[in-house]
């Protein structure tokens, strides 16, 4: 089989893995003659589905011995199969890297023969790249659950980031949809990498302990293939960030690839809006200092698809507003809809020497049309606005946005009613003015 056909088959098989980041390595201390890493990561192109391409994302092989219901590569599927050789992947990576097409390599694999054999093939590929080609660039590799600890450790010293995909948010779903996978084996390599990193950080910084998974770990969950609610997904993500010190949790809206009685029908649209809300919640936990319990409560365990989680929180806690921008702390500023980490920092810098006014906010990067309902400046609020959370909700969502969200919404009308009064919302929306007079 020629190389271009292999690329076609094995990139196609790898495309459902979301992870694309090449960030997290602050000082690259690897030995080598070519390549570098950027701590913020670099996007090299964007595909027409709007996703960033930073790494050469490939499966080593798609000839899998497992039969997971949700996976395109399961052994019961009749799809074309291919396998690279370690040298082919190493050469292709170097060819693309020299021409600045990619930032590095993302290497995953289906399970061929057994988990240890698969891990050894990955190690062989990375060794050629690191030791023979002198490659210092970014490598993200999959830790194969169930593989021997020594193999996982060796991979860790060769790669910048490792990941184990949790795939499904609960043990029951895993048992049902991935019968060959052991739920405990999934978390084992994660634990091992976390412990090893902690152990090495106790010693003085040397080249060796700087090169063990320097960019940390990530994982991925499939959204919409199993019945878990949003609250349990956000809580699991929070646990992963806190307990295993993960750098990223990725969410992937389930795209039906297999006809299966245990899964949504093949004609179902992927729940992209729900995925989007989960990412927003994820950002709130990582950059806005929110906890999972604040984002979703037990009595409302799913996201309001019409309103983003931050605005939703602000409307639910309307008594904590307006916040005075001249005197509020950084944490308080972060909780105002329309203000992000950067504009909050800009406000703090600008107010140090100058008295701010509401009109200055736009220049400092604040989205004023959202923030105006929640801020005051030296006790002065935007004049003429109605202080009613229902009105605020309707003002935060433009009519066009509402129609778009309505189309993208996969929840039933009945479920939405539990979130807020849709009928009342629509009557308010039909009134023209948002002002009292």
């Amino acid at each position: 089989m020629d190389l271009s056909r292999k690329i076609e088959i094995l990139a196609e098989s790898a495309k459902y893995d979301v992870s694309c980041s090449s960030s997290g390595v602050t000082n690259n201390t690897r030995n080598g003659t070519v390549g570098s890493t950027a701590s913020a990561g670099i996007c090299h192109t964007f595909t027409s589905d709007g996703r960033c391409v930073s790494l050469l994302k490939l499966l080593f092989t798609n000839a899998c011995i497992f039969d997971c219901h949700y996976c395109i590569n399961r052994k019961s599927n009749a799809i074309p199969r291919a396998t690279f050789t370690p040298r082919e992947i190493a050469d292709l990576t170097m060819d693309f890297y020299m021409r600045n097409y990619i930032e590095g390599l993302f290497l995953s694999s289906a399970i061929i023969k057994n988990v240890d054999y698969t891990s050894e093939l990955l190690i062989k590929t990375l060794r050629i790249l690191r030791y023979e080609k002198g490659f210092k660039g970014y490598i993200h590799v999959k830790a194969i659950p169930g593989a021997d600890e020594k193999l996982i450790e060796e991979l860790g010293f060769l790669a910048d980031r490792m990941s184990v995909n949790v795939e499904l948010p609960s043990r029951e779903s895993l048992k049902l949809l991935a019968p060959d996978k052991d739920p405990f084996a999934l978390y084992k390599p994660m634990k091992q990498i976390t412990h090893k990193k902690k152990e090495l950080s106790q010693f003085p910084a040397t080249q060796q302990n700087n090169s063990f998974v320097p960019a940390g770990q990530s994982t991925q969950m499939i959204i919409g293939a199993s019945p878990e609610n949003d609250r349990s997904i956000v809580t699991i993500a929070e646990n992963l960030y806190q307990k295993y010190d993960l750098k990223r949790v990725y969410y992937s809206a389930y795209i039906p690839v297999n006809q299966d009685s245990l899964l949504p029908a093949i004609t179902t649209d992927p729940p992209l809006l729900r995925e989007h809300r989960l990412y927003q919640a994820d950002w709130l936990m990582r950059f806005y200092r929110f906890s999972a319990a604040e984002i979703l409560s037990e009595d409302k365990p799913n996201f309001n698809l019409y309103l983003d989680p931050k605005a939703n929180w602000a409307v639910q806690n309307y008594d904590q507003f307006p916040v005075d921008i001249q005197s509020a702390s950084y944490d308080q500023l972060l909780r105002i809809p329309g203000i992000g980490p950067k504009s909050a920092l800009n406000i703090i810098k600008a107010r140090k020497y100058y008295q701010l006014h509401l009109t200055d906010l736009k220049k400092l990067g604040v989205v004023v049309k959202r923030a105006q309902y929640f801020v005051s400046c030296n006790g002065v609020c935007q004049s003429g606005l109605i202080n009613d959370p229902e009105w605020v909700i309707s003002s935060l969502i433009s009519s066009r946005q509402y129609e778009t969200l309505k189309k993208a919404n996969s929840q039933s009308h009945h479920e939405q009613l539990a979130l807020f009064d849709v009928e009342r919302f629509e009557t308010i929306k039909n009134k023209e003015s948002k002002y009292a007079y």
Binding site: S4, E8, V34, H44, R99, E103
Partner: protein, 249 residues
Amino acid sequence: MHIEKTTEIWEYDGSFYGFLTIVYHAFTKKQFPEIILTPDIAVETLFLSRWIETDEPLAQKIYERLTKRLRKENTQFIIDGFYCSLREKERCLLDAIQIALESKDLLSNHLGHPSILALQKSLKALFGEVHLFTGFIRFEFAGKLLYSTISPKHFSLPYLCPHFARRYPQEMLMIYDDTHRLLGIIEEGQISFIENSDPPLSNKADSEQEIQANWRTFLQAVTIQERKNERTQLSHLPMRYRPHMFDFQ
């Protein structure tokens, strides 16, 4: 220091040394002009201006004074500010120098001042473009040389070269900026520039075609059709970067 704001219009040749000469005149007279023109924008106005002749030794002296008097970060802010594409950057930079002389704080903390805010925004645009180019540049081998052409909006190339000098420490690279007609040459990590250059003739190797085709095959394969969203692609990767990228050819 009290500075008088006048209604004068000055003009200079647009070089960095020329600007430093303007700094000398403005601070010795304690008078800031209202408008500072360069030959490019002078044609757009009808007002008469006073020509300030560039004085290199004087500019050198001013540069040394500034590096001695100002914080390292503030000097860098002013140098970077000079290379950004803000329309009235010279006038803003005079304000910036005045603030930097009076305050020990970072200039970027004075965002409440309109001139500093305008400069900061323009710098953000410059560095944003530089960051995007670190990913969007495409090289091709011409013999042993890696060659690439770009059409940046801002004066990005000098900020871009150090990244590639670190990335390919043993290669010979050439990046040609056809907007500013500037050629950057990186030879085993050493950077040099040729101004007002014509594009160097490159003879592509045949093997490049095959590798570019493999790249396009890969991009086609990783696209998820069910998630097609060209608007998002456009916002992340604007059209102006695409003519020189093989991904779209």
